[in-house]
């Protein structure tokens, strides 16, 4: 196997007395979609934020980019490497319009240092059209958009920086049927372009549709890493809910956990 574009090992993160992540490993290859699974509070969002530089990890773990050890201590570090993040809470500025949000932190400038609004708006239209999104007016504050439109804006923003790894934290949770399909198409499109994708979702159908591999977290620890092809739905659910602690229990409980404990 080739070197993973991003590889984490032994990542921990504590919030006061809460150990949100405990010696977690995760890697993603180019052109691979990894689903990061786990119950509520398992630490998925925390892991994403650590990778994105929004939270500093505790000392001890290592992050390798193209096999080289790197230090991600601020969002700018992750952006520079080529990691784009769509956060669960989207992280949009409600008071700014769509164009301003898309280019926030990466504005196009005219020579004397003023904002090149025309170029930004043109690129914004281009990008949104390539995602086949219809937003009537790019100059309205994002506070006025629907949940799905906000999601699309957040994804579009992540793609502007030409990233190599894209992390999406529950991107389809708030979307309608058509927009969910659109986001899944988009994820496949990214994979086909050779990007590494880390997808967090509670929707097993979505995961099975696009993911190549499922990495499971439980109570802040690794609880399994399965290829999607060749792993049953029940096995993954068992790992998520914790029945995977004991391989025998997993085999025994497969039929019942699948029916009773899946959410």
């Amino acid at each position: 196997m080739s070197t993973p574009v991003l590889e984490l090992s032994g990542i921990s993160k504590t919030f006061g007395a809460v150990r949100a992540l405990d010696e977690v490993d995760l890697h993603v290859q180019e052109g691979e979609v990894v689903a990061l699974l786990g119950d509520n509070g398992a630490g998925k969002s925390t892991l994403v934020k650590v990778i994105a530089g929004a939270h500093a990890a505790d000392t001890g773990g290592t992050v390798a980019w193209d096999g080289r050890a790197v230090d991600i201590s601020a969002p700018a570090d992750a952006q520079r490497l080529g990691i784009a993040t769509i956060y669960q809470d989207l992280a949009l500025c409600d008071n700014l319009d769509i164009v301003a949000n898309l280019f926030l932190g990466n504005e196009h400038l005219h020579f004397p240092g003023t904002l090149d609004e025309v170029e930004m708006e043109r690129r914004a239209w281009e990008l949104l059209r390539s995602l086949s999104v219809d937003i009537p007016d790019l100059r309205v504050p994002v506070a006025s958009l629907s949940g799905g439109q906000r999601q699309i804006v957040a994804i579009a923003r992540a793609l502007l920086g030409k990233p190599r790894v894209v992390m999406l934290d529950e991107p389809t949770a708030a979307l309608g049927v058509a927009q969910t399909a659109q986001v899944l198409d988009l994820i496949e499109q990214l994979r086909d372009q050779g990007l590494g994708v880390i997808l967090i979702s509670h929707n097993m159908a979505d995961v099975r549709a696009v993911a190549d591999r499922a990495a499971v977290l439980r109570l802040g620890r690794n609880a399994g890493d399965f290829p999607i092809a060749g792993t049953s739905y029940e096995e993954i659910v068992a790992a998520i809910t914790g029945a995977a602690d004991n391989p025998v229990a997993r085999r025994d409980g497969r039929q019942t956990t699948g029916a009773e404990e899946s959410r």
């Binding site: 993040t85 992280a91 008071n95 319009d97 932190g105 609004e117 025309v118 043109r122 239209w125 504050p141």
Partner: protein
């Protein structure tokens, strides 16, 4: 920031039109009736812009003119523009801080400290006047950076930091001044000239011409750039109309001021600060970052914006402008005293920002609030001075009422925005 009445070219290339225009987006016809419809739509949606303040200003002018016909005399209006300059500069500083969603309670004390430093260095230590002004502004900048550092880096709420500043810098002000209660400055020279200089008429007209030309040229360039890029753009008629609307206050203002002594330098400094700040806020990356931090600091941080640096620098700007306000106070009074900047300046500066339309909750507002709010408060002060038997007590109560009305209009328009899903603070 929103473009009220955009149009696009009829689809020249048939394969790409629909993506640009959504059928749900209302078209605005490029005609007076189309504009009127757009105005009504905006009012209902709570996008009032500066309209309430301008209407309020006109009402105030009418009322005071009715009570005393000297109110609208060129001399009174000219004095008014000089009177509002000092607090106006402090207001511009407050506005940047408000855009961050923070507050600066120390600007009055910083203005006082700056006044004291100016007077002491120049009159007691014999510094050249320009050096005294530079020292006063420099101290202002350092004070602001210190506030910003304690707030952004150490994490003390800005309210507390600047409350400490309100006390502490007033203390330093008294200490610098002691043992004198008042230090008179020279009635001629650079400091005095700041509020005593009036420009001959042609300079006022020249500035109007330059402003309108630059505005029109920049608008035309922008709109033609949008047109060539296939973006919605304003029709020529609307650009001309907007330039015409801008010309009205400029021409009337200069015409009135020229009937007295001409355009006052003090007012020009104030308006200049407002214009520079406005361009900085709307046209530069730095300004965009300020709005972003004020709107959602966490989102700004994750977008790679150095929020600490933005916050520290904004407090630096605010205190520097407050210090400049202090210099203008010295110039106007030809003296610095232990009470300079310690009166109602702080309250008036914050009130002016809010009356002008800048939100207290961050991320919403603009530099022109300082000018509009300053004119409203200046008009009230000046109008009441012309009435016999009316003193500060009445002025405070009327100002309070206007402030409340402004906040109520803001809250109501915010509700309109919420139900019409235009968002905002």
């Amino acid at each position: 920031m929103s473009r009220n009445t955009p149009v696009t070219d009829p689809p020249a290339t048939p394969e790409e039109p629909g993506a640009r225009r959504d059928p749900r987006l209302l078209e605005t016809a490029a005609s007076p009736s189309g504009w009127w419809a757009a105005i009504k739509r905006n009012v209902r949606a709570g996008e009032l812009g500066a309209a309430p303040v301008i209407i309020g200003l006109l009402l105030i002018a009418l009322v005071f003119q009715g009570l005393n016909d000297r109110f609208l005399s060129p001399q009174n209006l000219s004095n008014l523009t000089v009177q509002i300059a000092a607090i106006g500069l402090m207001t511009t500083g407050v506005i940047v801080v408000l855009l961050l969603g923070e507050i600066d309670l120390s600007i009055g004390s910083v203005a006082g400290l700056s006044a004291a430093i100016l007077a002491v260095t120049v009159m007691r230590h014999g510094w050249p006047e320009w050096a005294g002004i530079a020292a006063a502004l420099g101290v202002g900048l350092l004070v602001g950076l210190f506030h910003g550092f304690v707030f952004a880096k150490i994490g003390v709420p800005a309210f507390v930091v600047t409350l400490a500043g309100l006390l502490g810098w007033q203390g330093l002000h008294l200490w610098v001044m002691s043992p004198d209660g008042t230090i008179n400055t020279r009635s001629e020279g650079l400091i005095a000239s700041l509020t005593q200089t009036y420009f001959v008429p042609w300079i006022g007209w020249f500035l109007v011409l330059v402003t309108l030309t630059v505005y029109l040229a920049a608008s035309l360039a922008t709109e033609s750039g949008r047109r060539t890029s296939g973006l919605p753009y304003r029709p020529l008629a609307e650009t001309l109309l907007r330039t015409g609307l801008l010309a009205v206050p400029l021409v009337v203002g200069v015409w009135i001021l020229n009937q007295h002594n001409g355009l006052p330098l003090a007012f020009l400094i104030f308006v200049g600060a407002v214009v520079v700040l406005d361009l900085m806020l709307r046209k530069t990356r730095y300004g965009r970052m300020i709005y972003a931090v004020g709107g959602n600091a966490e989102a700004a941080r994750r977008a790679g914006i150095n929020t600490v640096l933005i916050r520290i620098s904004v407090f630096g700007i605010a205190s520097t402008l407050a210090a400049l306000g202090g210099v203008m106070l010295v110039s106007r009074n030809i003296a610095a005293s232990t009470t300079t900047g310690g009166g109602s300046e702080l309250m008036m500066a914050i009130a002016a920002a809010v009356i002008g339309g800048t939100s207290l909750f961050g991320g919403r507002g603009n530099a022109y609030s300082a000018l509009l709010g300053g004119l409203v408060l200046g008009a009230i002060t000046s109008g009441l001075l012309l009435l016999p038997g009316v003193d500060t007590s009445v002025r405070f109560m009327i100002t309070a009422a206007v402030l409340l009305v402004a906040v109520i209009i803001d809250a109501a328009s915010r509700r309109g925005r919420a139900t019409h899903a235009r968002g905002g603070g």
